[in-house]
């Protein structure tokens, strides 16, 4: 049981840290991607 407890504690730390770090990165770089996507779609609409 002790090994399982330690295992889940490590898993939880990895999960929580990954969640927070990826969220921070996606919040910034996702906006850039979103802007690029809308620009591309706008250009396509103009072409049509």
């Amino acid at each position: 049981m002790t090994y399982w407890k330690i295992f889940w504690e490590i898993a939880l730390v990895v999960a929580g840290t990954s969640f927070a770090v990826i969220t921070a990165i996606v919040a910034v770089r996702g906006y850039i991607d979103l802007h690029a996507m809308i620009t591309q779609l706008a250009q396509r609409s103009k072409k049509r």
Binding site: W4, W8, L12, V14, A15, S18, L41, A42, R48
Partner: protein
């Protein structure tokens, strides 16, 4: 707890901003490729945001918290499997790479390319049926969260959820995938912030030492070791591996994000990084559930676990987490968290509405029209058909979803209903992509035996969920192999067709 003016202002402000931004997508939803897969313009980071937001809803928080409450740390095994399997799929490109290269818009579309239009139609019916039944419980569970967490009177539950559904419907119908992606980005950031806040508050209030001690006292080793948990065991873990492999590759809403990425490399990167988010998507709310057990698990034992009791009132385990939030969060923070949960609700529901409507319109109605000898629909006709289907799916969800109560743990109910079509669809897709011998007879048998393998054991023989899921996948595989050897040779996979600037016909 009473929701204060500040909390209501935050929630209302979020709703207005979210819908207003969602409506921007209307300008870019000109043809069916833009409407259903955002013109295949998703980059890596926005892809991660929309995929994560699509698969993290209030329903996710609720069922994972319930699982944590009932099974302690052993529940983490389900979260770990979902994340690790997703990372594996992303790194290897298993299924998703080839499907992306085919430029599909829906999963059943693959069945016509590889098998036949008839099998596409059957798969479309099963996918839509399983998907909508699955989504059918969302509104009620989400409504329960909102009423318990905000202190909203139960009699306003139907009105509140109807209003939320109508707002989602508004921007999803008008702007399709483009609107969904834009709102998903905002919703993902908000729901993630809310998740982190709740985790900090839950551990702070319950105390890590108390959390571990409570699980040890109530569940013993079964609260940590999934092989010792009566409901889990080895069959549960194997079924979870198969199920998550199927979900990450063949679940319509997930697959649509893969189809919407710029190319196959981007789709793999999106899947890999979202896999890490999936670890937290499961484990964090499970931890909230365990914290709620620690704080309020003092009632009579049900299934070996004490019922949650708050102010002398006994609740269902699924309501323990929102009840905890209503007690531990302060003014303002409550508003941010509930807005975050609303964001999660809206991101999932809008994506699911679009996903299941797409299957009904593209894979059921359109092929059925052609069977009847009617002309294929043009791009604008398809967009209109999708919009109408969206409306009807919403109406069904509204009337059925608010009144149906799932039996047992919601997580397991959702897994079982999903398996109705996932067992056959996943097996047929694997066979269709990687096994030349796979043929139409095998495809039909896999779909039918996979569905029967769930419906008969679970609904009629009342076998446990994990045994049912295990049997369904096994039967689907047997069906594909037996049918493929018994029937005539299959047709080769029809490769991608170029998209002709909105003139593509189905």
């Amino acid at each position: 707890m009473v929701f204060g003016a500040l909390d209501w202002s935050i929630v209302t402000g979020y709703l207005i901003v979210s819908v207003a931004i969602g409506l921007i997508g209307r300008k870019y939803a000109g043809d069916v490729t833009q409407y259903l897969v955002a013109g295949r313009e998703l980059g890596t980071y926005i892809g991660i945001a929309t995929l994560a937001a699509t698969e993290i809803g209030t329903i996710t928080f609720m069922y994972n918290a319930e699982l944590g409450y009932r099974y302690g740390f052993a529940a983490f095994s389900a979260a770990l499997i979902s994340g690790v399997v997703m990372i594996f799929v992303g790194r290897s490109g298993f299924i998703i790479r080839r499907l992306r290269e085919l430029r599909l818009m829906t999963v059943p579309e693959f069945f016509e390319r590889r098998y036949s239009r008839g099998l596409r139609l059957l798969t479309g019916v099963l996918v839509a049926l399983g998907g909508i039944l699955n989504m059918g419980v969302f509104l009620k569970v989400e409504g329960e969260f909102l009423t318990v967490a905000s202190g909203l009177n139960q009699r306003y539950l139907v009105a509140a959820m109807t209003a939320v559904l109508l707002l989602e419907l508004l921007y999803t119908t008008v702007g399709g995938m483009v609107s969904v992606v834009i709102t998903d980005y905002i919703q993902y950031v908000l729901l993630s912030v809310a998740s982190i806040i709740v985790t900090i508050y839950a551990v702070h209030h319950a105390g890590w030492g108390h959390i571990v001690a409570k699980v040890t006292t109530v569940m013993g080793s079964g609260g940590f070791n999934p092989l010792h948990t009566p409901k889990f065991g080895a069959t549960f873990l194997i079924w979870q591996c198969l199920l998550w492999l199927a979900v990450h590759t063949c679940w319509q809403t997930t697959a649509m994000r893969m189809f919407a990425t710029k190319d196959a490399d981007v789709s793999q990167r999106v899947m890999t990084w979202t896999g890490f988010i999936f670890l937290g998507r499961g484990m964090l709310p499970m931890l909230w559930g365990i914290a709620a057990l620690t704080l309020y698990g003092t009632g009579t034992l049900i299934g070996g676990v004490p019922s949650p009791v708050l102010h002398g009132h006994t609740m269902a385990p699924i309501d323990a987490m929102p009840a905890m939030l209503s007690q531990i969060l302060g003014p303002g923070i409550r508003g941010v968290v509930v807005a975050g949960m609303l964001a999660a609700t809206m991101s999932v529901n809008s994506s699911y509405l679009l996903g299941w409507s797409a299957v009904i319109s593209q894979d059921v109605i359109a092929p059925a029209r052609e069977f009847m000898g009617k002309q294929p629909l043009g791009s604008k006709g398809q967009v209109l058909l999708n919009r109408v289907t969206n409306l009807f799916v919403s109406l069904f969800l509204l009337f059925w979803g608010l009144y149906y109560t799932p039996p047992g743990a919601v997580y397991l109910y959702l897994n079982v209903t999903g398996t109705i079509f996932l067992a056959g669809a996943f097996t047929s897709v694997v066979g269709g992509l990687y096994w030349k011998r796979a043929n139409l007879t095998g495809g039909y048998l896999a779909m039918v035996m996979g569905a029967v393998g769930v419906i008969v054991p679970f609904f009629f023989l009342h076998w446990s969920e994990n045994i049912t899921g295990f049997i369904a996948f096994s039967l689907a595989a047997i069906g594909l192999i037996a049918g493929s050897y018994l029937g005539p040779a299959g047709k080769p996979l029809q490769q991608a067709v170029p998209e002709l600037g909105g003139e593509q016909r189905i």
